[in-house]
């Protein structure tokens, strides 16, 4: 799973309702892998408004990945920024480990790059 996808996952356990804690899910004991992908600037610029930047920044910090605090004013003309963005959201893959909710402590396992978001009956 790439970080662009992690940026859309939130805890959905029944009694876990604090929006500030359900998202982003915190990575725990994860293994990362970089896989090179073709860079498409038009795509990146289009995706940018769909990304929750604060959440991405938080996640990047946890993983010791450098990312500017703010999105530049005109990202389309900022090649360096786009290159970083591409590497972070599209080339950084989380292989194994888990994602933990800071609200309820639920741990979502990641195996072979696939996060398991299924919940047990009593958690729904």
């Amino acid at each position: 799973m790439r970080l662009i996808t992690h940026n859309m996952l939130k805890c959905h356990v029944k009694n876990c309702t604090d929006p500030d804690k359900q998202f982003p899910l915190r990575f725990k004991d994860v293994q990362l892998e970089q896989i090179e992908a073709d860079r498409n600037d038009e795509f990146l610029v289009r995706m940018l408004p769909r990304i929750d930047w604060a959440a991405l920044l938080k996640t990047a910090k946890e993983l010791n990945i450098e990312l500017p605090d703010k999105v530049p004013e005109s990202p389309a003309d900022d090649g360096e920024f786009l290159s970083t963005l591409h590497t972070v959201i599209l080339e950084t893959h989380v292989k194994d480990g888990s994602m933990v909710c800071d609200g309820c402590g639920h741990e979502y396992k990641i195996t072979n790059g696939i996060p398991n978001m299924l919940l047990a009956e009593h958690e729904i």
């Binding site: 799973m1 996952l9 959905h12 896989i35 073709d38 795509f43 769909r50 299924l118």
Partner: protein, 223 residues
Amino acid sequence: MKLKLFEEYLGDVIAFKEPKIQLEQYPTSAHLASRILYTAENTYGDIDGKAVVDLGCGCGMLSIAACIMGASSVVGIDIDHAALETAQENIDEFDTGGTVDLIQASICIETSDGLLALNEDLTFRMSKKFDTAILNPPFGTKPGNKGIDTLFLQAACAMTRNAVYSLHKTSTRDYIVRKAKSWGFECDVLAELKFDIPMMYKFHKKKSVDVGVDLVRLYRKSG
């Protein structure tokens, strides 16, 4: 790419190893998958450079097809671990350059009165994150699955900004068109197909039944 070659490539996608009837696990054929994605790209420009989501991705046939047609990012979601393992094998085999992510999750949840509802808490943050959705949903013909096809379609519409490609029983066409309207989408029927669905109904003696199926394209009404 020529359609014929595209179909040939997709012929290498491995299908469900042990299909689970309750989850309505029958694969989209390479023939059909190639035609859906070929049309989506060449007639409508909905795939190349786009963010695509595949709901009930199973072994990844449609996700991989989207990838080959140039999707910039694909997310496949399925409830079943075994199917996703096979999907990952297929993805590795196709060397999709890490463009496809798989998530194990359920699109629906069971409500206290035994009916199905959208798993809104899960899909909440996926709202409008994709350009295009492609899906071959369960038709809801198994006990307890009633309405799952419409819920999949609703989830797909919520997640996409542009277009949704889906397959639905022709017998439900009017209902689908009405539902689409209520979500702010127009619905075009692109093709009428016949599906040979294995063991769709328990009470049938036959091994499989032919079902009329529509390939539909839903798109947001402008404005």
